[in-house]
Structures are given as structure tokens and as C-alpha cells.
Symmetry: C2
Subunit: 332 residues, 2 copies
């Protein structure tokens, strides 16, 4: 694409022309039937299919001053890949419903497709976009559905399987994305509160890592199936903060989880309350040799009066991000 | 729900409370793992899965003055079920990503879930919503992904399989939804062009049927697998008008399709150009005993200079609805 052509708004192009740019960036899917028919057909490891869907919305979920098209495509892929991995499954394909204002540039759309592909190639090799839908909307919306397969003979790892006496372990970043969001809100908004582009030169290396963790999280997708093979009794991805999500896992399993704050690093407050890293939280029978990347952060016991404690004290706060409660209505 | 409670905006409720209303209306899904974990797990007839996604957006796809929540839920289900059926597959589950303005009433959300369930129960018994995602957006958006299964040993029916000498047949309404849209645009807008509620008492029975065909289409879902069993060589659902979609099928198959206008009823113009009925267009080897509901509307031959003729004349017009080209920007 020439520079002039890349600024072309999608509203001035045919659906076929927009689709051609997207398909060119996505590359071929490993499917029996790929994009171009009424539906895709995928071959799985056996007759069970794992399916999840998660949406990014301009405003509550991202600001275009902060996120590039590539960041958004990669994040939309990553958050869905993490939900598949959290079942102990291997992601095999993504389906992307993309709704865009007519003024969106074709270059942005191409970048978004590039980001989707990059996240698949990096985090879940073999998984690609196998279908989707394009439509016009006043609000840029990226709805992704991820499809995964389970190893034959192995059940999905649910939230409800933890037993008293298990170890609680985590794999991936916790609190990094929240630190990044704080940096964005504190340092990259103008006097009216509107988002302004990130000046990476003004950031230290660790601040850059935090901002990248927010804009383009890299959850440990292959560690989901590895945890299943190692015998994980329960697993989920941490999208709403460790406190909220550990409490959910404990409640679903009918146990109490005791977390040890000293295992959560220097910024244990953010690690406990920040969401959006999509780390994998899992429980294993005591004595399990944990898969690479998992570290012990606590243990489970028979359900007490509170489903979650931190350093022995009941933890009842919310934490995490709720789009209904927390979105201030701004987009940018 | 009391009348007062039903007017409650979702923005004043927790995500859990909104979800509880939705799940109550949806009823249980026939899944190994249903809603409530990171992903759903479904058991299929064999190791192949059919997946498609299609989105309804407030503005280009519907007006709230015309469509009830039940209509929208039912339509969002129907258009996706039709894409699965058009592969010759049986729909087994829907996944619904729902993005709503905070002021949306909880009653509307409950009605939308009821419509999703009603369409599944009526059109594709055994199929239910098995998962989804709730988020906040300035634009009401219903992104549905449908999952289907193929009969073991039977391939998906593609657009590309028609051979010269096949009969071309259709099952379901063609032109009805377009007639309904014309009635809505001509008679149920105010002097400024804004949509106003439909007064069904002002309509004849056939006008009511047309409006219902637009607001709540009923594609013949079970006829998709029936066509596959009968030996359909190619199939697709007619969402963009018969002219456009027949031309796509002909081009994908490398044949020319000759349609006979006298088979298309009294309003053959609307039947040729109107979209959104989601009828099933299929080709069969000559001499096939067609499944119930299919009627012959033409035949195929070796590819000529034009992929489509009507009564022997090349048909090169567009027809159908293009959200980028045709949406006037209004919502209502």
C-alpha cells in the first residue's frame, strides 16, 4: 500500500477490498474450510470443542491515542487465547467480528490484522484467524471468538476442581498491566483528561514494559495445556485481578485459598488487585512438579468463613476493572 | 421482575446481576461445560467443527423503534444458524457477545435473551446459547458466533461444488424481508426520517408477514442438513439478495447459473434483489428428489461470459444491502 492509499477510509472502499487487505495480513488458516464460505470447518483432536468469546470496545477497553492497530489486534487475540489455555486446551482458530466507523483508515485495519496474526504466531503457533465478519458501526468493536481442542482422553480443567491441600500457583505477569494503565492515565493525558500518544523516550525500561503489558499483554498460552498434563485440579485466567479471580476459583471449588503476599513481588498491592495480565492461576495436588513458569503463591484448605485470605487475613475487597462501574465514558 | 425493576438500566446493576437475568431466560445449554467458566466445552458428532460469526449493530442493522429485544435476539440467532445450515451442518450452540449502552433497560436485555432462545427452540431444536461476553458500549452490538456439527462421514457443502447440468433450487422466503423493509421505511418514519413504532393495525396480513420477515426472519435451518443428505453439490444462504449470492455461488463453482423469473413469484424483482431472508440456495444433480421445501428456480451450465442470467439475459446489477454503501447513518 502507498502512503496515500493507506490513509483511505474503509467507508470509501467495498467490503471485498477491505477484506482483501485483512486476509493478506492474516495469512492462510489451517482449516478444512477457511474464510470465503458461509462458515469455516476445522478439524480437531477429538469430538470436543472449547469455545470462548471476548470483546474489545473503543472507550471502556482502549483509547486509540494509546493503542496502535497492531496492539489492539494482538490484545484481542491474547485475551481470548488465554481463556482457551485456562481450560487446559490448545487454541486452534480465532473468529473476528470487526465493526468500524466508516472513517477508519485501511492502514489501521491492516495493522489490526497484523497484530492478530503476530499474537497467534508468538503465543499459540498453529492458531490463526479462520473466519469473521465486517460491518459498520459508530463504535470501533473487536469481538473475537476462540476455538480450542483438548488432548484426547484429557478433560478440561475447570474452576471448580481445586481440593483442600492443593498448592496454588501462577504463571505469567500479575500487576504489570495495571502498572501500565496507571502510567497511561497519569502521564499521557492532556489537561482535559483526553489520552495523548505515549512518548516512549520519556519512560524507563521498566515503565515501558508495564505500558507494553497493558497495551499488548503476552499471556503464557502454552502453559495452559502444560498445566493440564501436569495434573492441575483447577485453572482460570486472571483478567479481573488476582483477589477477585482467586475468590471465584475458591468459591467454585468450595475451598478457601490462602495467599502469601511475599510471593507476589515488590508491588504486591498491584499484583493482588490489577487485572488484564491474563496470567494463569492454577491449583495442583501437593508434591506436583510444576510446569515451567508456574510459581507457588499459596495453598487451599477446607472452606472457612471466607473464600480468600492474604497473609492469614480475610480479603473481601473488589479490585480489578468493571466496565459498567469503572468506565468514565471517555474514548480518545 | 416487577415493572419498576424491569426499567432498571443495566449501568446501575452489577455484571453478575445482568448475567443472572440473561441465564435465567436462556435456559440450560447441552454442553460438557456451559456458561460460568473461562470457556465452554461442547461434544460434537465427530472431530470436525463448523464455525461462523455475524453481528447486528444499532444503526446499520436495526432501529430500536422497529425491533423489540425479542426480535433482535431472534434475528441475531437466525442469521447465524442459517450460515451453519448452509454448510449442511446442524447448529449445536451459540456464543453471544453483547455490548450495550449503560442506559439499556434490564427488561430489554431479558427480552433479547428470550428471543435468542425462542429462535433456537423454533428453528434449531437442541441448539442453545452456551457462552458469551457482556460489556459496555456507546453502540448496542450483538455479535453471535454459531457452532455446528457435520454428520460423520459427510463433507460440508461448499459454494464451490456446483457442476454443469445441476438444478438450482431454493428453500425459504426470498424478497419478503425486503418488502418488509420497504414498508418500514415508507410508512413508519416521521417527517424527519426517524423510525417510529410499527402500528400493526394499519397493516394487511401480507404486510404484517413482510414486516415480520424483516424484523424476525425464519430461515429453514433443518433444510440445510436435509439438502446435504439429498446430495446437494453446493449451497449458501441468501443474505445479500439472490442476484448477488447466486453470482457468488456460480463464480466459486466456475459455472453459469440461469434463473427462470417465472419461478420467483409475483414480486420477482424483490425476490431477485432483496436480501436478509436467509433462504438456502442449493444445487443438486439433475434428477435428485429435492428435500421438502426446496423448489427449482434454474439450472447450471458450463461457464459462459456471465456467471448469472435471468430469463436468458446477463444479470450484472448489484442488489442487496451493503452497510458501507447503503447505511444513511441513522439509528433510531
Amino acid at each position: 500500500m502507498t502512503e496515500a492509499a493507506s490513509a483511505t477510509p474503509v467507508g470509501s472502499l467495498s467490503e471485498e477490498a477491505v477484506l482483501a487487505v485483512i486476509l493478506d495480513r492474516l495469512g492462510p488458516a489451517d482449516a478444512l474450510v477457511g474464510p470465503g464460505d458461509d462458515a469455516a470447518v476445522l478439524r480437531l483432536a477429538d469430538a470436543r470443542v472449547v469455545v470462548t468469546t471476548d470483546t474489545l470496545i473503543h472507550g471502556p477497553d482502549f483509547r486509540l491515542a494509546w493503542s496502535s492497530g497492531r496492539d489492539l489486534g494482538a490484545k484481542a487475540a491474547a485475551v481470548n487465547l488465554a481463556d482457551v489455555a485456562a481450560m487446559g486446551a490448545r487454541p486452534v482458530a480465532l473468529f473476528v467480528a470487526l465493526a468500524m466507523p466508516p472513517e477508519t483508515s485501511i492502514a489501521f485495519v491492516g495493522d489490526l490484522a497484523t497484530g492478530l496474526r503476530e499474537a497467534c504466531d508468538e503465543l499459540a503457533p498453529g492458531c490463526r484467524v479462520a473466519g469473521g465478519d465486517l460491518t459498520s458501526s459508530d463504535t470501533l468493536t473487536i469481538a473475537v471468538t476462540a476455538v480450542g481442542e483438548l488432548a484426547p482422553g484429557r478433560d478440561a480443567v475447570l474452576r471448580s476442581g481445586a481440593r483442600p491441600g492443593d498448592v496454588v500457583a501462577i504463571c505469567g505477569d500479575v500487576g504489570l498491566a495495571a502498572a501500565g494503565l496507571d502510567i497511561l492515565f497519569e502521564r499521557f493525558r492532556d489537561e482535559r483528561g483526553a489520552a495523548v500518544p505515549v512518548d516512549t523516550d520519556a519512560l524507563t525500561a521498566s515503565e515501558r514494559a508495564a505500558v507494553a503489558g497493558q497495551l499488548r499483554p503476552r499471556p503464557p498460552i502454552s502453559s495452559g495445556p502444560a498445566a493440564a498434563r501436569a495434573g492441575a485440579t483447577a485453572m482460570m485466567d486472571v483478567s479481573d485481578g488476582l483477589v477477585r479471580d482467586a475468590r471465584r476459583l475458591a468459591s467454585a471449588s468450595g475451598v478457601t485459598i490462602d495467599l502469601d503476599r511475599t510471593t507476589l513481588g515488590a508491588d504486591s498491592e498491584r499484583a493482588l488487585r490489577g487485572g488484564e495480565d491474563h496470567a494463569l492461576l492454577a491449583t495442583f495436588p501437593e508434591g506436583t512438579i510444576l510446569p515451567e513458569g508456574f510459581r507457588v503463591i499459596g495453598s487451599t484448605r477446607e472452606a472457612g468463613p471466607d473464600p480468600l485470605t492474604v497473609d492469614g487475613r480475610a480479603e473481601r475487597s473488589a479490585g480489578g476493572w468493571d466496565p459498567y462501574r469503572d468506565w468514565d465514558g471517555a474514548a480518545g
